[in-house]
Amino acid sequence: MNRKIIAAVLLAAAAGTAAFPASAQDKVLRVVPHSNLAILDPIWTTAYMSRNHGYMIYDTLFGSDEKNQVKPQMVEEWSVSPDKRLWTFKLRKGLEFHDGKPVTGEDVTASLARWGKRDAMGVALFTFVDRMDTPSSDTFRIFLREACGFLLEALGKPSSNVPFIMPKRIADTDAFKQIEEHIGSGPYVFKRDEFKPGDKAVYLKNAKYMPRKEAPSGSTGGKLVFVERVEWNLALRDAQAQVNALQKGEVDILEQPSFPLIPGLQKDPNIVVYTYSPPLQYMARFNHLHKPFDNPKVRQAAMAAFAQLPFLQAQVGVKELYKTCPSMFTCGTPYASSFGSDIQSKSNMKKAQELLKASGYDGTVVVLMKPTDLTAIDKLPDVAAQLMRQAGFKVDLQAMDWQTLVGRRAKKDAPDKGGWNMFLTAWQGPDIWNPIANAALDTRGEQSGWFGWGKDEKIVELRNQFMRETDDAKKKKLAEAIQARAFEVATHVPLGEFDAPLAARKNVSGLFRQTGNFYWNLKKN
């Protein structure tokens, strides 16, 4: 085959018509999400992709605006009794599921009951709930055993697991089984017949959706849809190929471009790189069950060694995208403060070495797990290992893929029997912005919900007080006390914050984010 023939073949192929005419393409928003969508039940898993899928098709009772204030969404009005034990909610008029049936109080209570069995904040809330009922089709009530200070925060929580509202017949599914139907009352309708796992997910505009009148903000406000169809490209996972597709105009939005490729995207006149708050936070987590981190003094030594900047410089690299943050709650959110953080923020390697000597550390090797395949966090363990070695720790840095790490961190065995001592991860802002949501602050020992199983009675007591407190100023004080104690006993180490920018073609407007990305209010010109 000579060059002419090859050129002819390429030209003939190039002349092929596109699947949609230009006008129709303007109504199709093609998105490359940050990961693959596999599980379609956002209550069954805490995976962010499932949560984002949930935001497409379901609506929520409340949401959190861009200032992290809880605002009504499906709820029209609500009241609370003077003793704060009876909450009455009235739904907005005209709410309708995709199958044409109206949203009722029974759908809501069934959805909340299922969510309350899976979500950490939901489980905490339901320890207060005595019962729920529905005095009329558009009203539901929550009866509490005692006053609870975070009911609205829980109902309006923007990240996994979000209390999405489903039809009762679906919400009645066992909380530990995945739902089979995917019908919500949200701004998009899921095209189940076009869903091909690992290939694409398709959402159509819900023509019957009645958006609120308020401007969109965070997960609240008017969810106006200006495109007919959103396609998530689940097959496009190679970082360079994603950028190529965006530059060529084959996709409109790239949710999470790889850090090293961002400078190139910023130079492209057809592409806009967006950064948003709240940022994500890196975290080092100790295993409190085993030596040496069963000793709080050893944990403090590690904390003192972990200056945030080296982690941020190594992992993110792009200066505009990271910042240090002395708080265990996302900086810029209501409970963020620097209380108690001196041990980390004002420390240095000499101090870390002194603390380690004073701790009685016996040279036990620290098994530090390093995920080699997760480019968002793969450099953090190298920095942690180096800093700990400088402080005097013996470190065994074990490389593995993320899925192996995820499986291993759930084991409570000793490190030499397949367990572990430390791993590092990243949290989206809303997942750690209050003491209940922040899983690392659950210090009920082996009863704790999250890996590491920290134990501290004082934090448990303070969290219980926080749950019961209804006064905002007092809640803030309690959050500060919890954080100070958490730094004192070194439950975990916050390692600074970063933004994971989104890149979009210039003709896409109306983008905003809070938890991941929301695909309403978007226009494609």
């Binding site: 796992p197 597709a245 499986g407 919900g449």
Partner: protein, 313 residues
């Protein structure tokens, strides 16, 4: 002939059984917990334990194997942990892109490599032969992803002729389908062109030294006729063998190309399944690959009858 066919088909059963046992055991020895992966980052240990139980992973390995192999024998490859979809359905969804890519690649490779290899043998030691051998070394040496990125950069981004990624089903039109597959096929075919051209050259070279070639030339046949009808035809068996192996390798081994070009094929499915420790899918896909491998080998063996009348089964 029929006895041979029956014997070969029966021989696939123990092969597949051994593959099934090995794959099952190896997966259970691999670190990683599907339940922890499914539960998500913020899940508690209790939630993970409940998911593990719901997947049957808390049962003894022998019980898990018995259940799985029983289902396989009744024609059910099981359900994906990760996608909650039948493994057979997943394979069905992913088969077309992979088969399309493999078919176009092999077609392109054969159309290019066989003539080139035959001409190189005919002009043994000349500039064309040396150039082809140089190309073959390069074809083997350049990693697929490097070639893919170079082609994307030049053909798609610079010239704007072809899309950079994606797959369009054949049912949506042959031209869009072809358009999407041109670059991936060229990328993948380079290594197969190198392989097939080298084997063709060697086989034809050997055939050209045979007495019947001298006889054909003595009869006054043209060089082209001697090359095609006599040398190439008699050199066909090793060429067909390497093409057959190539097809089998392509069906199961196009992971990198599928990733770079975002083609949702079997290679990508396998990688996703491995990363998610989706045991039923990995087991099902590998069994399927093994079956395809055995089947293609059988077809290659059968094709020898056509190319070499001396062969009898």
């Amino acid at each position: 002939m029929l006895t041979f066919l029956a014997r070969r088909l029966l021989a696939t059963i123990p092969v597949l059984l051994v593959v099934a046992v090995l794959v099952f055991l190896m997966l259970r020895l691999t670190p990683g917990d599907p339940a922890a992966i499914l539960a998500g980052d913020a899940a508690s240990t209790e939630q993970i334990a409940r998911i593990r139980a719901s997947l049957g992973l808390d049962q003894p390995v022998i019980v898990q194997f018995g259940l799985w192999i029983g289902n396989v024998l009744s024609g059910d490859l099981g359900e994906s942990f990760y996608y909650k979809t039948k493994v057979a359905t997943l394979i069905g969804q992913r088969l077309e892109p992979t088969v399309s890519l493999a078919a176009l690649t092999i077609l392109l490779a054969v159309l290019v490599a066989v003539p080139l290899g035959a001409i190189a043998a005919w002009r043994f030691g000349g500039w064309f032969d040396r150039a082809l051998m140089g190309f073959a070394v390069m074809g083997f040496s350049v990693p697929v992803f490097v070639l893919a990125y170079l082609l994307i950069w030049f053909v798609s981004l610079k010239l704007g002729w072809l899309p950079v990624q994606g797959y369009v089903r054949l049912s949506e039109g042959p031209l869009p389908w072809f358009r999407q597959l041109v670059l991936p096929s060229i990328t993948l075919s380079v290594i197969y062109i190198a392989l097939i051209a080298r084997v063709t050259r060697a086989s034809v070279l050997e055939a050209l030294g045979e007495d019947y070639i001298r006889t054909a030339r003595a009869k006054g046949l043209t060089e082209a006729r001697v090359l095609v009808r006599h040398a190439l035809a008699n050199a066909a068996v090793p060429i067909v063998t390497v093409i057959g192996i190539g097809i089998a390798l392509l069906i199961g081994g196009v992971v990198v190309t599928e990733s770079v070009y975002a083609i949702p094929g079997l290679g990508r499915l396998t990688v996703d399944a491995v990363l998610a420790r989706d045991f039923p899918t990995i087991q099902g896909v590998i069994l399927f690959f093994s079956f395809v491998y055995v089947l293609i080998n059988l077809l290659v063996d059968m094709s020898y009858l056509f190319f070499d009348p001396r062969i009898r089964y």
